[in-house]
Every structure is written in C-alpha cells, then in structure tokens.
Symmetry: C2
Subunit: 200 residues, 2 copies
DNA sequence: GTCTATAACTAGATAGAC
DNA sequence: GTCTATCTAGTTATAGAC
C-alpha cells in the first residue's frame, strides 16, 4: 500500500515535517477550509491540542507550506535557466524544470496555487509578491529570446501567462500510476512550448 | 461602482437567480467551505433561514451552479465546432469559444474547476463524467486533424490536456480592467494553439 | 417568501496535568 | 511533546409564526 509506505517514511521525519506532510495531503484533497484541525490531528494519530506545540495556528501551517514551496521554486528556477546557453535552451530548461517540479512536488505546487485565497491579507500579499517575481523571470526570458531573434512572440506578457498555466496544470492531472513518466511529460511540454514561441 | 451596478442588475432577477449569483461570487473569492450560509445570506440582505426556501442545502446551490455551467459548456462546444469546415478551423473555433466562455462566464468556470473537491461523492462522480465527455470531444478533434494530415501531434491525449489547461487558465487571471479585450485574448490563444499542433 | 428562535453539532484555540 | 478537558464562537439546518 502507498499509504503504509508513506507512513513508514514519515516515521523517520521530525514532528513538524510529519505535520506539514499530513496537512499537505488534506489541504490538497479537501482544501484548507475543508480540513479541520481535528482532521489533521486524526491523520497524524495525535490529539488536536498537540498540534499547537509545533505551530501556533492552522494558518501558520499553511503559510509555512507556501514559504517553503515558493522559495524552493525561485531558487531552482535560476539554477535551471543558468544551465542554458541560448534563450531557446534556457526556455527548454525552464519548462522541463517547471513541469518536473509540478510533478515531484505535486501537492506543494497544487496547494500553493489553490489555497492562495485562504491566506490572510498580509500573507496573501507576501505570496503574490513571490509569485510575481517568478513570473517576471519568465517574461524576461521570453523577451530576451525575442530580442535575440530566436522567438516569434506577438505578446510576451500573454504568452508567458499562457505557458505558465499550461505547465502548472500538470499538478492538476498528473498521476504516478499514469501512462507517462515524468521525464517524458517534461520533454513533451518543452517541445510544445518551443513550437508555441516558434523557436528556431 | 461595479458593486452597485451588480446590485441593480440583480434586482431584476428572480430570488433563486440572485442567490446563485451571490454564491458564485463568494465561492470564487473564499471557496465553498470558506463561505458560510450566514455569509451568503448577509450578501443577499436576508436571514440564513430564508435561503432554505429556495435551496434545500448549501451543497444543492453548488451542484446547481455546476450543472448549469457544465451543460451550457457542452451545448456551446458542439455549436462552436460545427461551424468549422476543416479540423484546423474547428480547433480555432473551439479555442476561441473555450477562451471566451472562460472570460464571459469567468466565475462559473472558475468555481466549476476549483470546487470539484467540495462536491459530495455522487455529485463529484456526475460532474467528472460531464468533464470527461467534454475532454473527449477535444481529443477527437485533435485526432481527426492528425488523420487529415493537418496537425502534427506526438501525443494527442497529452496535447489535449495541455491545451485545455492553458485555455481554462484564462478564468484565473483575466480581468475586465486589464490591457486586453476578450476578443484579442481569444484570437491570440487560437494562434498559440495552432502553432502548438503545427497546423498547416 | 421572509422572519425569529433554536437545535445539534463542529470550529479553532487554550490551560494546565503528566 | 502529548494528553484531557474545556472555552467561545461559529456551523448547517429546522420549526413554526407572520
């Protein structure tokens, strides 16, 4: 059973890490507001009060998940792009990274998108800031490709958001029990995106 | 104010229609579980108990929104595709329709995607069935284009889901106060998708 | 068709023992 | 670090008056 395996793996994790993992699963399946502190405690086999030793509130758990996910994404984005010599190579690297991230950190990516509205106003603002910084990097990648004569793009802003929506959608539908391996999906998406921008 | 205008328009609607409209706005902004029956009643200027004269439960309101949205989409999909002579023309018509629907019925489309998990098990199964029928129509459109030698697609299933994610994403980011008019967005998306499938 | 009043239950969070 | 016990408030939904 996948469940038993997940349990065995989580036994080797710290308490806070186990809480994060369980919260991620529940927030994905039922949403933040659809998950009670009691639900979360039950999934962990502890009492609700015990959770408050590790996190001051349910909202703090959500924010913690967001911060980790957004920061890891931003870090790895720059590593991925840095590996490409031309804008076309950088775009291929970016799409492959973005798709693979949305598969490997599927729950993190899904929750970081679907539960934005469940953040309190200040937390929401902060995460929108991180998201905007990420999106700006993609726009600049596309604009550089246009300047270099490698891409043919009518509207960089529109194209960047279209590409991001397409690639982030992977966390919506991908399943490990599916037909395609992560690497195959990542390569196919990179091909589609490069055609989309008419890369030479 | 947009709010005052929405209120004036809703005054001419039936009670059930006004409830649907208010629920749509709240479910989009806060989610189904993040919206209480009290919130909804307050937005309508009535007491919570009054809602139960029009709908038997909060879930019934959500299901009603889903049914209307999914049925309208399915109907208009066939009208849109029927207007094209070739697979390429049909695909352009489909993308234009799908994007324009996700702009004009933005809240309906957004909620019908984001709140799938808030449906009870039998309702969820029913909506997944409707969604699958819609997706199947797109796959068949792409497959017909490949058979006719008009599209070059390595994996029809993967490409269809990528296109759908990209186009449905419009309901996530579009705003009427933005830079681009709906028609412009629809045309640009159609161009991008036709390049994606290497349409002749 | 909307109200008041309320039932029956669940929510997030805390106090303090162990 | 986890527990029992509990607080306060909020949840969906119903009964029955007007």
């Amino acid at each position: 059973m996948a469940k038993a395996k997940a349990k065995a793996a989580s036994d080797r994790l710290g308490s806070s890490e186990r809480i994060r993992l369980a919260a991620l699963g529940l927030f994905k399946a039922r949403g933040y507001h659809g998950t009670s502190v009691r639900d979360l405690a039950e999934a962990l086999g502890i009492e609700p009060a015990s959770l408050y030793h590790h996190f001051p509130s349910k909202q703090a758990i959500l924010v913690d998940l967001f911060d980790r996910t957004m920061d890891i994404m931003q870090d790895r984005l720059h590593q991925a792009i840095a590996g490409g010599a031309t804008p076309a190579a950088q775009l291929r690297n970016f799409v492959r990274f973005h798709v693979l991230f949305h598969i490997e950190c599927q729950d993190e990516a899904f929750v970081s998108h679907s539960e934005l509205r469940s953040l309190t106003a200040p937390n929401h603002r902060r995460m929108i800031g991180k998201r905007d910084r990420y999106e700006k990097a993609i726009r600049e990648l596309l604009a550089a490709g246009v300047r270099a004569g490698e891409f043919e793009i009518a509207d960089v802003r529109l194209t960047s958001i279209a590409i991001l929506m397409m690639c982030s959608g992977v966390s919506d539908w991908f399943t490990r029990r599916g037909r395609l391996k992560p690497e195959k999906v990542a390569d196919s998406y990179a091909d589609m995106v490069l055609r989309l921008v008419r890369a030479r």
